[in-house]
Symmetry: C2
Subunit: 363 residues, 2 copies
């Protein structure tokens, strides 16, 4: 029997999370308070942090935040990868940077997960180089945690790739299902494949072939068939699988729509004295609604498919948002996520590389 | 010199619009009042209607609606294409149906545009067969009129195709630009190509090649480069071009997001006595906001690229919505739309089928 892939993610001495403390628009001034917040939200379970970055900027923040300082070790480096660095350039030139070193801590086994609010392309390129892909996985996928009428819908890929073939879409389904269970606690997450209609003959070749594979290969996932764009917010399924181009456009279109309607609502509720009075009277209720679709509460999109847990935070988020990204990393590291993926990947591989009769037997 | 393509769309005796009166969820009970509404909105300019469908159902509606009756001629047929008919089946079996005959009236030159709230697949298949594609156009595209912070953004294709190559994307840009000018009155509509980032090297091969063609071929369109999903609601450009798969997912995702937020808002404003009082006080302002994003006001998505004007109405809309679809058809029929497309298609063809030096000269 092979060594369980999750062996590295469980340690008796508690969890260690590595952080690129210089990433994002704000760096240490957001990261350090976020560490303190994350500790509160981790229910007292032991956790330590390795903060990679400029000690001269980190130390004063830690001095102001004792709750973070007592669980943190600073790993100094003066180098950082800028937010607009091209991935190819970052790969060649970023060795020794806070981003690189933060990922390296996972590779070496010192930490069980890494969180960065830095440059997405560089994070992905360095992660692939340093950690490498999980066996059998072709490409990483970025997950978005999407608020829906029924909770959180995990949508992937939302931008790690621009094209995905049928087998990659199946890999995304496996990863997304394991992710939803690990982080959102749904015991048997349902999975849908994004398409332009729900009939079997709809869509392009890749989605139809992925549909066939998902329907027939007997993976441990609860596949429900095709879903459409409006099923994401409806929460028709827990996990929506799509290629990175479509997923990225869908995510940004939804964000744009939400911002447009919010702006209209703001304009509406200040348009007259009566409207202002109304807004005042409904203020607590409106605040609860705002909290429910607050992008900070769903911050933290993991890069799935790597040998190690890598979580991307939004670059412009604050301590609340970054704290949530840390929580996602901790939940993943403490879960069975990796071994579950490992199990399903072996099953998929058996089916793909055998004749139909063997595939039946594998089920 | 070739005969101007728009010659059929201008007639001294006024405009004639052909309508599939049996299409949609409601048929004549929506279509007839919609005709009366459309007349009001066409500013007294002469227009007549051919209503194709069951006379026994149409006559009583017309008797109740004199404003529609006086501009209408009923073309009786007992046959209709059901909303869930497969396009291939509809093609073989629907000759003589209200949908087929309505399209045929455009082909014969009796009418200058056709409007249907019926089965989209059948409408597209029969239109392609009866009217055929405009010379040089490969495939039709469906346009969505998207409310944005700066007016209306025309997005195409939103579902006529599942894959589109670079040349088709350029054709969509040409059609979308001419459409926006004709219907939304923007003298020089700006055009963007939907992608996952705004840098030149981003995206898959088709969008990068389409970007190159749009940047270099000297078409009469104001091309502004790549845009992202959130640029649609922002109104960054007037026309957004994408393949039918991505466009359909984006449209439905936006609709889903809008419905989700509307439901949250409704729930919020009824959640407590104070919230209800607030909603009451802000009611007129909230109603104005609702009107602004009312899907009926943007109803009417033309199928572009055909030899004739074909407008699809939402199947479940009411007389207000169907009336708007008629207005879109009338605006297109009265515009320079067809000759403008013809001009740009000849220019594109010159560039595509010549060497780079000639292409330069064509500019």
């Amino acid at each position: 029997m092979s060594k369980p892939a999750s062996s590295r993610t469980r340690r008796p001495e508690g969890l260690v999370i590595s952080i690129d403390a210089m990433g994002g628009d704000h760096g240490p001034s957001v990261v350090v308070p976020a560490v303190a917040r994350a500790c509160e939200r981790l229910d007292g379970r032991p956790v330590r942090f390795l903060l990679h970055g400029d000690a001269a900027r980190l130390e004063p923040e830690l001095a102001r935040t004792p709750a973070a300082a007592c669980v943190t070790e600073v790993r100094h480096t003066p180098l950082l990868v800028s937010m607009d660095e091209k991935p190819a350039y970052a790969l060649r030139r970023s060795k020794g940077s806070s981003l690189w070193n933060a990922i390296e801590s996972v590779k070496s086994g010192e930490a069980q997960a890494v969180v960065s609010a830095g440059n997405t392309g560089a994070l992905m390129a360095i992660s692939r180089l340093v950690l490498r892909m999980t066996e059998g996985m072709d490409r990483p996928a970025i997950v978005a945690n999407w608020p829906s009428a029924r909770g959180i819908c995990a949508v992937l890929d939302v931008g790690a790739n621009v094209v995905s073939d049928a087998e990659q879409l199946v890999q995304f389904a496996i990863m997304g299902s394991a992710f939803h269970r690990a982080v959102h606690g749904q015991a048997h997450p349902t999975v849908g494949l994004l398409n332009v209609g729900s009939e079997e003959m709809k869509g392009h070749e890749e989605v139809r072939e992925a549909h066939r594979l998902l329907s027939e290969t007997g993976l441990e996932i609860d596949y429900r068939g095709f879903v459409e764009g409006d099923d994401i917010a409806k929460g028709t399924v827990d996990v929506v699988v799509t290629d990175g181009f479509t997923g990225n456009v869908a995510l940004k279109t939804a964000e744009g729509t939400a911002r447009f309607i919010s702006a209209l609502l703001r304009e509406t509720l200040t348009s007259s004295l009566w409207a202002k009075l109304g807004a005042l009277s409904a203020a607590p209720a409106l605040q609860r609604m705002k909290d429910r679709i607050d992008p900070r509460t769903i911050n933290g999109g993991p890069l799935l498919g790597l040998n190690g847990i890598v979580v991307k935070s939004h670059g412009g988020t604050d301590a609340v948002g970054f704290g949530n990204a840390i929580k996602v990393a901790a939940d993943l590291a403490r879960s069975d996520y990796a071994s579950e993926i490992d199990r399903n990947m072996r099953r998929l591989s058996t089916v793909l590389h055998s004749d139909p009769a063997t595939a039946q037997a594998a089920e």
